[in-house]
Amino acid sequence: MKVDFNIDIHHLPRVEGHGDIRISVKDGKLADAKWAVVETPRFFEVMVKGLSAERVPFLTSRICGICSISHSLASIRSLERAMQITPPETARIIRLLAMHGETLQSHALHLFFLAAPDFAGTPSAVPLLQSHPEVVEAGLMLKELGNELSIATTGRATHPVSLVLGGVSKAPSKQRLAEIKQMIADRKPMLDKATEFFKTLTIPDFVRETEFISLYDGESYPYIGGDLVTTDGVRRDENDYLAMTNEYTVDFSTSKFTKVSRESSAAGALARFNNNYDLLHPQAKAAAEAFGLKPVCHNPFMNNVAQLVECHHLVADAEEIIDRLLDDDLKDIKADYKPRAGAATGAVEAPRGVLYHYMETDESGKVVKGDCIIPTTQNNANIHYDLHALAEQSLAQGKSEKEVEKLCEMLVRSYDPCISCSVH
């Protein structure tokens, strides 16, 4: 069967930001497959120049509306390291709880509202409200739980207000923490319900070997800071982020591409899972087992499952963190500091993967240079090559244009790309 067709998906829906999929098939053979990011750049690296360090996290959190806490914390971490500020332990775990909230919120949004419609064959989650009300409800309750965690720890669900250099400006009240603990207990069953639902879905069978990159500190499942590792055995210090990214530009995309040891690499839930399986909470491991997910898994569609597994980890870990905070007097939350010159990288595990902010300050505490490398940027190349491989595999299996189109969309979406963020 010799077919000619072009797939041109302009502004792929149900992802954050603007990206296009372009595939052309000639004579039944794949001629070209591209992942093109067309988002408008905002030039954050320029904007930070001359800005006071303390204002920077408020600026950079606006890189992304979904993972604003990660951006804020990446900036804070880089600036704290640059200016040699050590935040108090209490602040450190409040921040971790904030990250958990954001990741839970983001994963729930992606799983239930952006990805689930693909599997159910609906254009959005709105029809699912009718067909699977209990699943949508579970998704909403988990997303709300994530948001509540973020609100309690940072003052707001999107664009945190109380994450500042030196620590946090305000601690959550014990009463609020106790309420959230109760909320977690009440909503755990929702997570199990969701797991049951996702088990009924068929994950496409597709494998392309790649290199997974994430943070790793050997002690806990990573979220804020640590070494940089890959499944190919690379391990480097946080400050060596450039060696882990090797950014380059391609002419069809406003977002850059990156690589480590191979032609492309991947970050995100699956990468974290692949590198840190041992450090997962037992409850999360049990969930992974239920899906037959084991490290190292090379099926990008399994990223959805890894996200669900992480939700189990986040909820269980959040519960333990809250217990620690309830025993704390929550007084020592912010370190005093003096501005100074310095430079450092802050790396955090954003919901979509490892995120680097690099900042250089002068002695008055103003930023003189900034650099941000976003998880989706690190996935662009992988998405691009995956598209190629997936299209080829599908054509070989004799799939129709419609089927190829749908699979390609699903593939991109399973990376949960955050495009406006990647262009920034």
Partner: protein
């Protein structure tokens, strides 16, 4: 609710984003407890971020983001032509937002810093959407306050006029019994910024940066005097005033 003799119809709505972080659109999916009720008010015709359905018969367009590229102007004008009501949604759309912090650098420098020699299309300035089209309502906020959004959507659905608070953030801040950040030695823009956010930043003990723009009838001169009287830094004040681009007319008038 039809005690006045008319039935409330679903609003045919489209949500569109330009140069921004999409955080404001994300708020539409937040406040989960009332989300099903909120969605029941809407007939979503076009909302790429959550739905692959794209229909062009919306009446109300929520426009998020600032304008930084010529092709965006055309897209925006097309949306204006279709929409009966166009809402500037979020600080970027209302004022240009923090994206406008790049305005102070020449665009060539911006491109060179980030992309090296690669050709990139961008405008010198990040514009508010009212620079190009007529705006019917503005909902400022970075991000918008979902409660306010809900209220405004309900107002449109129930055919009730829409109004933002005219008073400054301090009113809400005092109602939350916060310690004034000036008493802690910081410059807060609360006295001159429009309320409606429930003083979320000062309540988290960080200064108000004026994301909702100036309140009605502000006393800018007295505010500047206050910063000087308290021996706080006017540079810091200016950095804050410029943060969301909402106070340009005052900043320019000053110097």
């Amino acid at each position: 609710m039809n005690h006045l003799g008319f039935d409330i119809e679903k609003l045919k709505i489209g949500s569109f984003d330009f140069t921004c972080c999409e955080g404001c659109q994300l708020q539409l999916a937040n406040k989960e407890s009332t989300l099903p009720e909120f969605l029941a008010l809407l007939d979503i015709r076009n909302f790429r971020e959550i739905s692959s359905e794209r229909l062009d018969d919306y009446d109300i367009a929520l426009v998020e983001g600032s304008i930084t590229r010529q092709d965006e102007v055309e897209r925006l004008k097309a949306i204006r032509a279709q929409a009966k009501v166009l809402v500037a949604y979020g600080t970027c759309a209302c004022f240009g937002g923090m994206n406008a912090q790049k305005n102070k650098f020449p665009k060539e420098e911006c491109i060179r810093t980030v992309y090296g020699d690669k050709q990139i299309d961008t405008m010198q300035e990040s514009h508010k959407i009212s620079d190009f089209v007529t705006v019917d309502y503005s909902i400022p906020g970075c991000p918008v306050n979902k409660e306010e959004v809900e209220r405004i959507v309900v107002s449109i659905a129930t055919r009730s006029p829409i109004a933002l608070p005219k008073y400054p953030v301090c009113v809400e801040c005092k109602q939350r019994l916060n310690t004034c950040l000036f008493d802690l030695g910081e410059v807060c823009l609360g006295p001159i910024s429009r309320a409606g956010c429930d003083a979320v930043c000062p309540s988290g003990k960080t200064v108000c940066l004026g994301c909702r723009g100036p309140a009605d009838g502000i006393n800018y001169d007295s505010f500047v005097q206050l910063v000087k009287d308290k021996e706080l830094s006017t540079d810091e004040m200016n950095e804050k005033l410029a943060f969301y681009n909402g106070f340009t007319e005052y900043l320019n008038h000053e110097g």
